[in-house]
Point group: C2
Chain length 413, copies 2
């Protein structure tokens, strides 16, 4: 992609209405744009990041044997009345259409997936069963000053599991936790992410959250350095010990919840009468689990965690591009050599962002490369051409290397 | 995918509340499920079809140089007030959140994309520019008796183009029409699709629609057999001649609008003051085009067009699977031979739906294969094993072929 053709442009100054680092850097870099308070558009760069996260999650969901579906955002009031959440779900968006029909804009999908499962689950032979979706959720949040960390509309992956026994639910629940840990490891968040014991709602004693330590976090967790796990502050009165080694937890940290796992057990199955016939012909309630990853929030969290004073530092696996290619100065020869390299890289299917802008100064180009945060910066200038080399720099390092074109292409293979 | 593991199940009888063929077949086959009137869930089979359509569209959009973004569904009232569509857009869903904030649930995205473009378009050098998204739209439709042809929530691809001159807009507009024709050709809809002249709204004299001839259609068009184009009935009083050959149009047909192209010109640019500086330093309004393809509706249209009394007949390019593999009967040897073939196909990355169900009769299995509509059916039975062959049948043919495993694998390459 040529930077001169990119729909978005970088901005020199931080947006005045944004207080969080993630929104500020993502807007300056041209990843997102604000459409309203707590409502953002993903621009081409941001969309590429979201797609890459989607692939990683999709891969793990497939491994779990989960099947992808797409449920609606709009759902009749009666489904939400049945679970008693129409009146009690604090951030629920409610709306009235023609003929006085009322709908919820789903902030979560138990009210859709449980009646759905009811059409297909009849006997123990139909269990276990797992479905997931990557879809837009809505929440009428008031505090929306944290960029992508808290928004009124966001991308989420939600997985629902259906089981015939508590043991089977427990086993799958553990599998999902491992799968989530793998996803966050791939994203480079392993060290900062704590598997955190939290309240289980009305259905279970405990749930688990994946909390990323960050000053921007709204949650408070108590961490165990040794076991790399934590307890959410909401539980600390009754559970002040590490649930792995038993040590008393004292270290308080601010953290961002990027994922959670819940054992719903028969809570929603009872509401919608979702039952199955067991091997002995007896009717039982289906047991359920639900497991979410906030994709928009994950993007915000990655930026909060991986940046410096110059800009974002994307992990390679989800960076919108692998290389940021800069033609330094407007010398014709420099332009031509860079263009040639760009064409070679394009042909080799390397994802490269090529800064071909004529009107930008060398300083602006290098600053934009740091701001956008692609992992490898390649610079072509009069100097590099004289040396018959290419300048390469990792975004998260200060060292500049001079390599040949062949060395670059070998490295990229 | 093993049919015994599939989240959905086929249904023996048509749903009583559905009057259209597309909804009836899609629900019976386990592609979609109704969540409310005009609100559907895409089940695993339906999601696979939608994804394949998405790939085809994405490929064509890339060729046009359009960049993919994701705009929000929720948009502040003030954007819709500015274009005067808050009060005038008949099917607009409006909602009120906390602190009396009002929002529209976007049925189309000019109210988002134009202010967005305003942040990035400054001079003629930034033009032309094209962005698109594949996203969920909302319309408060009353008549929702046509399955996926008319729903309250649906997937749509919408593309927006920005130009510095009318000539440039005209050129791109023609390119998009060609690109759309290519998409519908790939989907096997070429013969039934008519490029149709329609009203241009307040902005332009004409727009164009891609209309698929079908009895289930809500539109009426007048077609020219020779030129394979049409005029929408809404225009026929003033435009009763073929706009290609000049022949008077008399042949009236019902049709489904699957796509449209609009020259918006400066209508929305004026509303949001979207301008650019031309080469002479003069400020002008940006000229715009918008181009939509209804993805959910396209799925419904494909089923209306491509089915027989036994079920759906998917075009290979978007079928959820390439092969439907049936183990006929519960003979152990038959099961083993089929399983072996399934594993070979899986390893060769062939998309295969394997009917491994124990409780279904041969008749049910063959009926389900016809209902689901995968293009090639492979049957393994005692008889085929004796003959050391595999039975293969195309969904849209009555001829059964007996081939060897090697012949099958060669054919699939």
């Amino acid at each position: 992609m040529r930077l001169s053709q990119l729909f978005s442009k970088t901005k020199k100054s931080s947006p005045q209405t944004e207080e969080s680092i993630n929104a500020s850097l993502l807007i300056k870099g041209g990843f997102i744009q604000k459409t309203g308070a707590g409502i953002y558009t993903l621009l081409p760069l941001g969309f590429r990041v979201a797609k890459k996260i989607e692939y990683i999650i999709e891969e793990e969901m497939e491994k779990l044997g989960a099947q992808r579906i797409l449920m609606p955002a709009l759902t009749p009031k009666k489904n939400w009345k049945l679970t008693k959440r129409w009146d009690n779900f604090d951030t629920l968006f409610r709306l009235k259409g023609k003929e006085k029909k009322e709908y919820a804009l789903n902030p979560t999908h138990e009210e859709v997936v449980v009646p759905l499962a009811r059409s297909f689950i009849e006997s123990y032979r139909d269990l276990p069963s797992y479905v997931y979706q990557i879809q837009t959720k809505f929440r009428d949040e008031l505090r929306v000053k944290s960029g992508l960390l808290r928004t009124k509309e966001f991308l989420m992956k939600d997985l629902y599991s259906f089981h015939s026994s508590e043991k089977d639910l427990d086993n799958f629940y553990e599998k999902v936790k491992k799968s989530y840990a793998k996803i966050f490891k791939k994203l480079g968040l392993e060290k900062k992410t704590y598997l955190t014991l939290a309240k289980g709602g009305t259905f279970s004693r405990y749930s688990h959250e994946f909390q990323v330590v960050s000053d921007e976090g709204e949650d408070t967790i108590y961490i165990c350095d040794k076991c790399h796990v934590a307890v959410n502050k909401e539980l600390i009165r009754t559970q002040n010990k590490c649930w792995k080694c038993g040590k008393i937890l004292k270290k308080e940290k601010k953290a961002i919840e990027i994922a959670n796992t819940f054992k719903l057990k028969d809570k929603f199955s009872r509401d919608f009468n979702l039952t199955f016939l067991d091997k002995h012909g007896k009717r039982n309630f289906v047991l359920m689990g639900c497991y979410g990853i906030g994709i928009s929030r994950l993007i915000g969290t990655l930026v909060e965690t991986l940046h410096d004073d110059k800009g974002i530092i994307w992990p390679e696996i989800i960076s919108p591009f692998k290389l940021h290619l800069v033609a330094l100065g407007n010398d014709r020869n420099v332009k031509e050599v860079t263009k040639k390299l760009y064409n070679i890289l394009q042909k080799s299917k390397i994802e490269v962002l090529y800064d071909d802008r004529n009107e930008s100064s060398p300083g602006e180009k290098l600053a934009d490369a740091d701001l956008i945060g692609v992992p490898y910066r390649i610079v072509i200038s009069k100097k590099t051409i004289l040396r018959k080399k290419i300048e390469m720099k990792k975004r998260n390092s200060n060292k500049v290397k001079f390599i040949t074109e062949r060395e670059l292409l070998n490295f990229l293979k």
